[in-house]
Amino acid sequence: MPRGKKRVSSFVQSRLSSPPPPKKGRSTTVSRRASRNECAPEVFNQKACLKWFQEYSQNDDPNIMGPDGVEKFCSDIKVKPEDIVMLVLAWKMKAKQMAYFTQEEWLQGMTEMSCDSIEKLRYKLDSLRNLLKDSATFKSIYRYSFDFTKDKDQRSLEIETAKSMLRVLLADQWNLFPQFMKFLDESKYKVINKDQWANILEFTRYVRDDLSNYDYDGAWPVLLDEFVEWLGKDNSMNQSEV
């Protein structure tokens, strides 16, 4: 699917750069719709929800919300596409692929969150963000994001995609993150596989920043062994420069 691929990468790029400014015309209609639903905030309205979905769905296939739709959806709920909460949303909806939501996924996710309008969802965002604080949930989201991000016909994640995803997920909570990015830049790795992906999180959680509890004979993937080795070299170089 050449089209999809292009879309994904452009989507990723857009996430990396600043999001495009939201289009005014559409957002007004949505807000109008949302205000109409304010009278019954607690009741989940499946029809409203579906209708809401239709606003974003593609013309050629009404069951799917494409990258454009997602972009619009983002701006409607006033969230940048690269915001981590988008990942939580996707995880809630059990979306199979980045930048695409099917109607089923949408309905199922929204039903679970009992959101059928922009307002409700925006109201919900903070609690979604809070989900990340639970380490088990975060792990689940982290692992989910690998499958979510990668191309369906590939086993691994391309390095650039992986890096941007890691930035979204880990940049705030891993002190070694900048070094890790530098290491990936300098290394010969072109893809990150699922095992490596899963273990990067374990590494951030288990290994201390000074690497004092790192076990060279442990089961860490070679990628991480090399990272630790690289860090050692990097440090010694820095020291010698000092």
Binding site: R155, N199, V222, D225
Partner: protein, 857 residues
């Protein structure tokens, strides 16, 4: 006689006799002489008593004693003459022997009487005589006459004599009295309770004398040696005197002194005196000990000293029981000091072998010293001190300074000495073994690691191993730990350089098994192969060896260069023994192919004979059929063969495929070789060449002068290969072609022509194909193949293990892999394979436990 009362009588035996003898000095001789009668009297008595007991058991106690008294008096009366003291002792001597025997008798009697118990109590006085039937005899009992008494002044007189004698002895003068007399006097005095007096007096006398003896030793400024000599004289005199005195006072020594536990025997008393008054004097003692130490030190410095003097004085010290406290400690300190400084000094001045020889000499000397004059109890401490100061202190420096050189120069004798000395001390063998081990590792590494030495590496390794084996077996007494250490060290350093030793060993074997290697007989070759197998055993990456060995074996078999089929088979069986059938199955397959090919060729010849019109009678074809997989893989090169050859191949293809349908034949031109007949001006020759060489030469059947490019176009031989081929034909030893322009290298545009003027004294000429210079490439290819095989093996092993265990932690998996894999591999490589398998869904990492793997079915 009053004292001889009833109580005494009941305990009749020895006491009675003794006390009798005590009381009657004058009669003692008579008594002893009359022992027989006395005993008879006893005997008679007991009989009499017995009869009486039978008659009347109520005999009174008093009476019994009176009976005995009677008996005594009777015997007493039978004495006719009283002998003088002097005579007595003479006679006594004579009868002494007899006495000994006789003394047994009374014992028996006594036992008899004892059995009767206190028979006296059974006797009744009233019945003793009266109740006897027909009591006609009367037993009259008379009292003793007056008790013989010693003269009143006996004690003083006798002592005066003795004293005089003792003083005479002490002053080395002759004794006035006979020893017999003196002895008798002592005996008598002892027997008359004067023993204590005697002992005290003797003690005083000795004390006085010994006390006086110290004076000469107190004088200042005596030469040490003279002092020692005097001391020795004094000591010897003392001993002599004490022996003499003792023999006079022997009776005292053996009775009174022996029975009184608090007293020391006369000899010991003498020693005690000597110790107390002379040696314990601090100055005397110090001088003596220092003198001794000086003498010993002199001897240690190589001077000759009076060993008898030393021995005698040291004996004195140990006899006086002050050897240990007064001498040994100081001696050991002196020894320690001496050898500590000597050890340090000599370690700097001497070579290690010289030093060891010196230590050995020292140890021998000290042992001799022990043998000659030192007390044996010093042995352990002394030897230990020497060992400690000369060896233990310097273990490390000896080993660091000398071991490597000794090993390097193969100095068997010195090494043996080193081992013997080191095995005396604690940690010695361990240290030696460790250093031996590190020497091998160090030295072995230099052999293995340097690529410049690759050519000679294997031979050097063999020599080195021989040398070390020899050292272990002759110098280290074939000790297990050294054998083990040797092996460990070899295994360690040989694998310091990955793969190369394995490759070189394979090539070394090839050079030995190749024909033309006539330097060795079959037995020698066999022995050599055994040695190589020892090296082979150390190598971790045996698959590398196999790959290279296989390649070389293929060459040997196909070119028919193998020296001996037996040797090949023997090597193969050794490999099989070492690594199992799996390792050699392919190699065996190669041999099998060769055998089968022989049969095929015979059948093919017959087949050709049977053909009605043999297509090309003047060409002969031999084919080796190689099973794919057994043999190394060769690059497939397409070349243009002459039409005759192609036809021949067709015939063979038809023949072979007719026999074995379903097989596929693929011709390998690279491995073929030909014999060509050539006509030169000088005459006919046969040229033995490779197939490529033949193809080139055959071109010159049609033209005399051809360019490189033309040949290339005609034969389609690969460029590099063709240039090498032409080089061998036009620039080598046998130049059957001429090249224009001349030169060693074949350049583009060179022209070649048939060299009609070619001369050679041989009829059949072998033109060697120039060996590929770029064997490195070939080598790399072989290595690459090995590594790829290894990856598959790792994968297979991982899957095998995981399939069996289902779940396994990372560390367990790795250790299990190391058990299974027979080649060296880094943990990181294993991890990569594991990750690759995870990626390919053969297994997965456990979702919760990061270092655990699950097998995915």
């Amino acid at each position: 006689m009053d004292s001889l009362n009833s109580t005494n009588a009941t305990r009749f035996p020895k006491h009675l006799l003794d006390s009798l003898l005590d009381r009657l000095p004058g009669t003692s001789a008579a008594l002893t002489r009359n022992d027989t009668s006395l005993l008879l009297a006893y005997g008679g008595l007991s009989v009499a008593v017995r009869t009486k007991i039978n008659e009347d058991k109520r005999t009174s106690r008093e009476n019994s004693s009176s009976v005995i008294r009677g008996e005594w008096s009777m015997s007493h009366r039978s004495r006719s003459v009283v002998l003088s003291d002097e005579d007595c002792s003479k006679k006594r001597r004579k009868s002494a022997k007899g006495l000994e025997n006789r003394f047994r008798a009374p014992d028996d009697v006594m036992a008899d009487m004892e059995k009767k118990g206190n028979f006296s109590s059974l006797m009744r006085p009233s019945n003793l005589i009266s109740s006897k039937p027909g009591a006609a005899k009367k037993l009259v009992i008379l009292n003793f006459k007056e008790t013989p008494k010693l003269p009143l002044d006996y004690q003083e007189v006798t002592w005066a004599k003795l004293e005089e004698a003792v003083i005479a002895i002490q002053t080395s003068k002759s004794i006035k009295y006979s020893q017999e007399e003196l002895f008798q006097g002592v005996e008598n005095m002892c027997n008359h309770k004067m023993a204590q007096f005697l002992y005290t007096k003797l003690r005083e006398l000795t004390q006085k004398h010994v006390e006086a003896n110290i004076k000469p030793f107190l004088a200042e400024s005596i030469d040490r040696l003279i002092f020692l000599k005097r001391m020795n004289e004094c000591w010897l005199a003392h001993c002599r005197q004490m022996i003499q005195i003792r023999s006079i006072f022997l009776y005292l020594d053996r009775t009174y002194v022996l029975q009184t536990p608090t007293l020391a025997s006369i000899w010991d008393m003498g020693l005690e005196m000597f110790r107390f008054y002379i040696i314990t004097n601090p100055m005397v003692q110090t001088r003596t000990v220092e003198g001794l130490l000086m003498l010993i030190e002199k001897e240690r410095q190589g001077d000759t000293v009076d060993r008898t003097l030393l021995k005698s004085l040291l004996r004195m010290l140990s006899d006086l029981q002050i050897y240990q406290e007064a001498f040994e400690a100081k001696f050991l300190t002196a020894t320690e000091r001496l050898y500590a400084s000597e050890g340090q000094q000599l370690m700097q001045d001497l070579d290690v072998p010289e030093y060891l020889a010196h230590v050995n000499k020292r140890l021998n000397e000290e042992n001799e010293r022990l043998l000659h004059y030192l007390d044996q109890c010093t042995k352990w401490a002394l030897i230990h001190t020497v060992e400690k100061q000369l060896l233990t202190e310097h273990l490390t420096s000896i080993l660091q300074k000398g071991l490597d050189i000794l090993l390097e120069e193969n100095r068997i004798k010195d090494l043996t000495l080193l081992y013997n000395l080191f095995s005396r001390v604690k940690n010695g063998p361990t240290e030696l073994c460790n250093n031996f081990n590190s020497f091998i590792k160090k030295k072995g590494r230099t052999i293995v690691i340097d690529p410049e030495k690759d050519k000679t590496m294997v031979q050097e390794l063999l020599d080195f191993k021989d040398k070390m084996d020899n050292i272990v077996s002759t110098c280290y007494q074939k000790k297990e730990r050294f054998h083990f250490s040797l092996k460990e060290a070899f295994e360690y350093f040989i694998n310091q350089r990955v793969n190369k030793p394995a490759e070189l060993i394979a090539k070394f074997v090839d050079s030995k098994l190749r024909a033309g290697n006539k330097e060795a007989t079959e037995e020698e070759l066999e022995r050599l192969l055994d040695k190589i197998m020892v090296l082979f055993r150390f190598i971790h990456g045996k698959d590398v060896f196999e790959a290279f060995y296989k390649k070389d074996l293929a060459k040997r078999l196909l070119v028919g260069k193998s020296a001996s089929v037996d040797a090949e088979k023997s090597m193969l069986s050794k490999l099989k023994q070492e690594c199992g059938g799996g390792f050699t199955s392919k190699l065996e397959g190669m041999f099998k192919d060769m055998e089968l090919s022989k049969d095929v060729n015979i059948a093919f010849k017959q087949h050709m004979g049977n053909l009605r019109e043999p297509p090309l009678a003047n060409i002969d074809l031999t084919v080796n059929i190689l099973t794919m997989g057994y043999w190394p893989s060769y690059p497939l090169l397409e070349v243009t063969l002459p039409i005759e050859m192609v036809q021949y191949q067709e015939v063979f293809n038809k023949f072979y495929l007719g026999k074995h349908s379903g097989r596929k034949l693929q011709w390998q031109p690279t491995l073929g070789h030909c014999v060509l007949k050539a006509d030169f001006a000088q005459g006919k020759k046969e040229l033995q060449v490779s197939l490529f060489q033949a193809l080139v030469l055959l071109r010159f059947n049609r033209a005399d002068d051809i360019t490189l490019e033309d040949i290339k176009a005609a034969t389609l031989i690969e460029d590099g290969e063709l240039r090498r081929t032409l080089q061998s034909l036009a620039c080598g030893k046998a130049r059957v072609l001429q090249k224009v322009p001349k030169g060693r290298e074949v350049e583009n545009g060179d022209r070649f022509s048939f060299n009609n003027e070619f001369t050679n004294k041989l009829f059949r000429i072998k033109i060697n194909q120039i060996q590929l210079k770029e064997t490195t490439e070939e080598q790399k290819a072989t290595e690459e193949r090995v590594f790829q095989d290894r990856q598959y093996q790792i994968d297979a092993a991982i899957v095998r293990i995981m399939k069996m265990r289902k779940t396994l932690s990372h560390n367990l998996l790795i250790s299990e892999l190391y058990n299974q894999l027979k080649f060296p591999v880094k943990p990181a490589d294993l991890k990569k394979r594991i990750e690759s398998l995870i990626d390919r869904d053969y297994m997965e990492r456990d979702k919760d436990i990061a270092n655990q793997y699950n097998y995915v079915a």
